[in-house]
Symmetry: C2
């Protein structure tokens, strides 16, 4: 019995240490406090702000919020890599923009074509396979591709403080969802392993698909037509369509997340909206108002009056990238 | 200590009774056995067919599988009730089909217009509100509407054996999803309470929606345009889009569920497909090949050669409707 009591005391004290310091890579400041206080208020039985576990939904943008989006979105690198890999089957690409520029290594010229050029490249590289084939392609790419500046796999370009936050929220019975402008089928093959978020809790942009039976084997074929662009006003629409209830907490880093944070905080009762601000030029990249990727202007302007939390990566995070 | 041992023994014996009889309203036959054996094979550690909890996905059609769909889909009754309620604001409906026939009580004439007429009525009654307003409308309807033959609320027109099955699967760490041709926002307000299935695990047909800010208040507006028809080939497409992994088990009752069962069982490893066959004219309604609602012909023909389970409501179920 004595050993049992000792063991119980030990378990209690370990739990209490964890409970007292659930976010070890976060400095103790206003941002960390706003998160911890929100979780305590909504999960403590008897609290005026208590929310039952079933309603504890937290949504996260991916690019720039959970993992790095500089110098360019990982999925864009994937598109360029796929174009190079598929080029032998498409001799016509040597003459056709934006493909010709990509094959010559001139990304800027390729992207000068704007959204139509980007859409053309996305369709050429994301459609024309079955969903199973595409899962394989995305899995192989993410396993072998390396970030151009750090040389680390993209799956290690994720933010340590955000991994701790995901764990902390799940330990408090929050269901964590990704709501990203990125492709839903580009993310699903790897996010469960990296973030602990299962495929059914991943919301993103998508292309149309079609069910067919080939020689008795059913397949879902990916079509070269956009189904849904999960960005800006699209994010609350997708949250409603996929999740069907309003989140309690929303985390983003750009104006593309503004409506998601706005929709979240317009709900009844206590809500929390958090912007991750990329202000650490030394340990990562400092960018906001004037960035082509992850532009954050309206969000910075309105966060104070709306009572949204702004996390300074420089001041609030002890480390940036996932610990090895 | 003695009391503790007694208590433990009691708990063990209660658990073992539950484990031995998890589906009390199912007669012990081949159908019940195929389900129980499948669950044991996929959840017993060390079994050759073991599947980790994260991958235990079970999908259920709703109309005719979890609740009654005769003499007519509940959502169709909802549409007719809404037309009558909205009629004073639409004097033009007195002259316009299919509305005029509904207002005169002639459902057959209204439905004679086929899919276009149905779509017209669906859009007139499902669009034009915010999502919050529609949730309120659907909630009020489901709370007050009564089944025309039994006089019971529709939420009691659910099948007792299926409620037990949902509980049994969840007790074995299966995640249960609805994948229905019915409207996703028509179902979400009530399915959690009735089936224990949360909104984020409800997949269905949907109309397009749009995010807007009205006087500083963000709303999602329901538009009079079909977004997705979750029937037949649409079901595997929706499963892939919403859930992102192939189910282990699928339950349906009509040819509209055929592709969902086909997609499920084409996955690697052990899979289970189950058709609920409405063959009990005495306790419910007997219908299959020639029914306008819930037609089941191809499914009945091919189930034996495909190794799919067919549940006879007459032979396999001790009771049909939910116990009061």
């Amino acid at each position: 019995m004595k050993a049992q009591i000792l063991l119980s005391a030990l378990v209690l004290s370990v739990s209490s240490v964890l409970a007292n310091n659930p976010l070890p890579s976060w400095n103790d400041g206003a941002a960390r406090q706003s998160i911890v206080e929100f979780v305590q208020a909504t999960t403590t039985a008897g609290s005026a702000d208590y929310v039952p576990p079933a309603e504890r939904i937290a949504v996260f943008d991916n690019d720039g919020t959970l993992w790095s989006e500089q110098p360019m979105y990982a999925q864009l690198v994937f598109i360029f890599d796929r174009i190079k890999k598929l080029a032998p089957q498409h001799p016509e690409w040597n003459e056709q923009e934006p493909f010709a520029s990509i094959l010559k290594g001139d990304i800027h010229k390729a992207l000068a074509g704007g959204t139509p050029a980007l859409l053309k490249m996305a369709m050429a590289t994301h459609a024309g396979t079955t969903t199973e084939e595409f899962e394989q392609i995305a899995s192989e790419w993410i396993a072998t591709a390396r970030h151009p500046q750090t040389g680390r796999p993209y799956t290690e370009m994720v933010y340590q403080p955000m991994l701790e936050l995901l764990d902390y929220l799940r330990a408090n019975d929050f269901k964590t969802f990704i709501v990203s402008g990125g492709g839903i089928e580009f993310m699903r093959p790897w996010v469960e392993k990296v973030y602990g978020i299962p495929p059914e809790q991943v919301v993103g942009s998508s292309i149309k698909t079609k069910y067919e039976v080939h020689d008795g084997k059913p397949v879902i074929v990916r079509l070269a037509e956009l189904n849904f662009n999960d960005d800006k006003e699209g994010k609350p629409v997708a949250i409603n369509r996929y999740i069907g209830r309003r989140p309690l907490m929303a985390f983003g880093n750009s104006d593309g997340d503004f409506q998601m944070l706005e929709w979240t905080t317009a709900g009844k009762g206590k809500r929390l909206a958090v912007y991750i601000h990329h202000d650490d030029a030394k340990r990562e990249v400092a960018y906001d108002r004037n960035s082509h990727i992850g532009r954050l202007a309206r969000g910075l302007d309105e966060a104070p009056q709306r009572g949204w939390t702004v996390v300074s990566m420089k001041a609030d995070w002890k480390v940036i990238l996932k610990k090895r």
